[in-house]
């Protein structure tokens, strides 16, 4: 390789966190003027790699080159000054300030007495906005902009320096089709100006439209780079999920248990519309779709966290209206939420206290919490789920991700729910524990629970589900039995291609 034809290159990157080896000997490069797509499942190490590239993490080993100059990045600011900019998925803007101020945050042009040189600020910002074909002015307040336009401001920020490489992290996750086209135009412009683009996305159709090369990460390791024109979705998918895929499926029988939960024409604002499905005792029903397709919103609505605009929920033959999570719990619904640390656990409380939290009101002798009763429950589900913890006093925050997740699952199993909804059961969990949790979900179904699993990971949904519902933009596009489903038709169903 010629020394000067990479805009950004990393070599042998290793990054370890206490519980996981997030990146293991990863090498990767992007050439000037190319779009290099970075693919991988959740937890494959994409976001860690991206943070290493943008100076947010220091790698344990490995080297970074910007325009073939070795670079050590201590901070995002330093990375930016050297020409590497990350466009965050979660926007990092100061909402009350103007577009121009956000673009030049930290580098506002000065006049005498520390006054801002507004003329220069607005002129410079205007010039950048024009490069991006933005239809809003530099004086607009950021809080008045749509999400897509805020994203443009983030991109504009990248252009205040002479960018050599720009990293986009799931940029289209919250964009409409039109807004997406505008973004692609911008990316093409940047390409034409010789900027190297790293493009991270789950959406195959986008990647095949705009990328020149595709690199794949799996479990923190580099799995190879493909020229986009020479490959196809199958090959990429295989690289992403590995060969274990086919073997882990199978043995699914069509459940003959009674219908436990039946949902008809459920709608909630513009989050999802006319959703109907049912789940039987003894089966795992999988919900598959991209982030934002409405899967999580359905779970939250069933759990009383969102107000339904219409629809009917029938539980064990009786129509119910769920008004609050408390109410949902009383009806026999349980939700293992997608964000374990924010929604699932009180990290500063002990394992036992977290596990008994939903039923603490019933675990009493007289007015007091029954210590024995609590410990009995904890011991029982610790053994059942093989949770590894030094003891019930251990703070839940000190456990590994897999064990934390088991605590959340245990907390709901202890309630003996009629329906168990598990949203992203293995997000951020290492491979070994993943398999364990998958087996656990299968066993629960075998024990007669009605289980709903929501996941963005294809191998996961394929290996645990008896039936799969595919969603795209708030609607159910197709329902599969285990026999019908293939990777291809599933990918199509969730990308709106079918």
């Amino acid at each position: 390789m010629n020394a000067f034809d990479t805009a950004l290159r990393v070599q042998g990157i290793v990054k370890t966190f206490p519980a996981v080896r997030a990146l293991d000997d990863v090498s990767f490069d992007v050439r000037p003027g190319e779009v290099h797509a970075l693919l991988g499942e959740n937890g494959a190490g994409k976001s860690t790699l991206m943070k290493v590239l943008a100076g947010m993490h220091r790698p344990d080993q490995g080297r970074i080159f910007i325009s073939e100059e070795p670079a050590i990045l201590h901070s995002p600011l330093e990375a930016k000054r050297l020409g590497v900019v990350l466009i965050h998925q979660e926007l990092s803007l100061a909402e009350q300030m103007s577009v121009a101020e956000n673009i030049f945050l930290g580098e506002l042009p000065r006049k005498n007495f520390g006054m801002v040189d507004w003329k220069k600020l607005y002129a410079d910002a205007e010039a950048i906005l024009q490069r991006l074909n933005c239809d809003f002015g530099p004086q607009t307040r950021v809080e008045d902009l749509s999400i897509a336009k805020k994203q443009m401001v983030e991109i504009a920020r990248a252009l205040t320096v002479e960018a050599k490489a720009v990293i986009f992290d799931e940029p289209t996750a919250s964009l409409t089709d039109q807004e997406k086209e505008v973004l692609f135009d911008v990316i093409r412009d940047l390409q034409a100006q010789g900027v190297g683009i790293v493009y991270i996305s789950h959406r195959m159709e986008e990647i095949f439209r705009i990328s020149n090369r595709i690199s794949v990460l799996r479990d923190g390791t580099y799995r190879g780079t493909l020229e986009t024109v020479d490959t196809n979705e199958d090959e990429v998918t295989r690289l992403m999920i590995g060969r274990s895929l086919d073997t882990s499926r199978g043995g699914k029988v069509v459940s003959t248990g009674p219908v436990v939960l039946k949902v008809e024409n459920l709608s909630c604002g513009d989050l999802f519309e006319n959703v109907s499905f049912s789940v039987q005792a003894g089966e795992v029903l999988g919900f598959y779709g991209l982030v934002g397709a409405g899967r999580t919103a359905i779970a939250e609505a069933l759990f009383g966290l969102r107000r339904l605009s219409q629809g009917k929920v029938v539980l064990n033959g009786q129509e119910i209206t769920i008004t609050s999570p408390r109410h949902a719990v009383e009806q026999g619904l349980a939700l293992v939420p997608e964000s374990r640390k924010e929604q699932g656990l009180v990290l500063g409380m002990s394992c036992r206290d977290n596990m008994t939290l939903p039923q603490i009101g019933n675990l009493t002798t007289g007015p007091f919490v029954s210590n024995g009763g609590e410990i009995a429950i904890f011991d029982r589900y610790r053994d059942l789920l093989s949770i590894k913890t030094p003891g019930w006093r251990q703070l839940v925050g000190n456990l590994s991700g897999g064990n934390q997740q088991k605590i959340v699952i245990g907390k709901w199993l202890a309630m003996r729910p009629k329906v168990l909804i598990v949203d992203e059961p293995t997000r951020g969990i290492d491979v070994g524990s993943k398999a364990e949790i998958h087996n656990l979900l299968r066993e629960l179904a075998a024990d007669g629970y009605a289980v709903i699993v929501i996941s963005s990971e294809m191998p996961e949904i394929l290996s645990v589900s008896d039936r799969i519902i595919a969603m795209y933009r708030g609607e159910i596009t197709r329902e599969f039995t285990a026999d019908e489903v293939t990777e291809d038709n599933l990918v199509q169903a969730i990308s709106g291609l079918s």
């Binding site: 966190f17 719990v329 206290d353 939290l357 007091f368 925050g397």
Partner: protein, 329 residues
């Protein structure tokens, strides 16, 4: 990375122990220091005096502890103390002591319920709501009295005197009340479902709701507890002074909060205990008393309190962060 900060990165060994037990160590050092320089300091009579004087702040601080563990603040307790004291003292002669206490407690609980409704159910910011209530209740008190001070006429004959001035088994009644309130609220927080819910709501309100806990109700109840404790403090205060000025509780809200923070209950919610608060209250009390015994004017304690509060919280924060100084550039 939250895992990283939880498992590694801790201040290790002696430093960590010192930081974690900082407030207890400070307490012991103070006690030894004062005892060395003043013979009178550790006599039982003096210790009794200190605790008796600390009882009013103490009872209030215990109530506020529940609010703070739930993740909120209560700045209205000071003016609530004025209101309740004025009310119970004024009603004493008019309708009798028992009735006066009952009416006052109900009125105080109504104010607490209002706090609870605004903060628990309407989800308004607790700092501003209770700041507004501070002002409003102060006004209410003045309207009630028309700006006059109130007092009890037959101070020597009323059994109401027992709460502030009485003794049972050789112990001053305020100390007994303080102890009883502390034990009850401690039991509630540590051994009842409600207590568990308060910690959960303060520790992670989102996860609490996701576990089916009615956050609104838990928060609202914490303000009822806080108001009730303030009502009890008003009984002690009214009985001790046998009269009341309109602004008798002015500034108490911050003293109370200082005691709670000093004990080590975090303003972020989810951690802390009655025991810690009791220690915080006692430290404030002993600092005050010790400095007086050493011949310093009463206001010197404020200066010492400043230093002690910041050091105590700093150590606590540093222990959690794993480094002494904040990493902000």
């Amino acid at each position: 990375m939250a895992e990283a900060t939880l498992t590694s990165n801790r201040l290790k060994g002696l430093g960590g122990t010192l930081a974690k037990q900082g407030i207890l160590i400070a307490f012991i050092v103070f006690m030894i220091g004062f005892a060395l320089f003043s013979e009178k300091f550790l006599t039982s009579g003096n210790v009794m005096t200190v605790i008796r004087q600390a009882a009013i702040v103490g009872v209030m601080a215990i109530g506020v502890t529940v609010v703070v563990i739930g993740g909120n603040l209560d700045l209205s307790v000071g003016s609530m103390l004025s209101f309740s004291t004025v009310l119970v003292v004024d009603l004493h002669d008019k309708i009798g002591p028992g009735e006066a206490i009952a009416v006052m407690l109900v009125a105080t609980l109504v104010l607490g319920a209002l706090n609870g409704f605004l903060i628990g159910y309407l989800r308004l910011n607790s700092l501003i709501v209770t700041l507004g209530m501070l002002s409003a209740i102060q006004g209410l008190t003045l309207i009630y009295t028309g700006g006059q001070n109130v007092d009890i006429s037959h101070q020597d004959t009323t059994w109401f005197a027992v709460f502030g001035r009485g003794q049972v088994f050789g112990l001053p009644v305020p100390i007994l009340i303080f102890a009883v309130v502390a034990v009850i609220v401690h039991v509630v927080l540590a051994y009842t479902p409600y207590g568990r819910r308060v910690y959960a709501v303060g520790g992670n309100p989102m996860a609490a709701v996701f576990s089916g806990i009615r956050r609104n109700r838990v928060v609202a109840c914490s303000y009822l507890i806080s108001a009730f404790c303030t009502g009890i403090a008003a009984v002690i205060l009214g009985s001790r002074v046998m009269g009341s000025q309109n602004n008798v509780g002015q500034g108490y809200e911050l003293l109370v909060l200082a005691a709670v923070i000093l004990g080590g209950t975090s303003l972020l919610g989810g951690s802390g205990s009655v025991l810690k608060t009791v220690i915080g209250v006692l430290i404030l009390g002993f600092i005050q008393n010790g400095l007086l015994l050493l011949g310093y004017a009463y206001y010197v304690q404020w200066l010492v309190t400043w230093v002690v509060i910041i050091l105590a919280v700093w150590l606590d924060v540093a222990a959690k962060r794993g480094r002494l100084f904040s990493p902000i550039a």
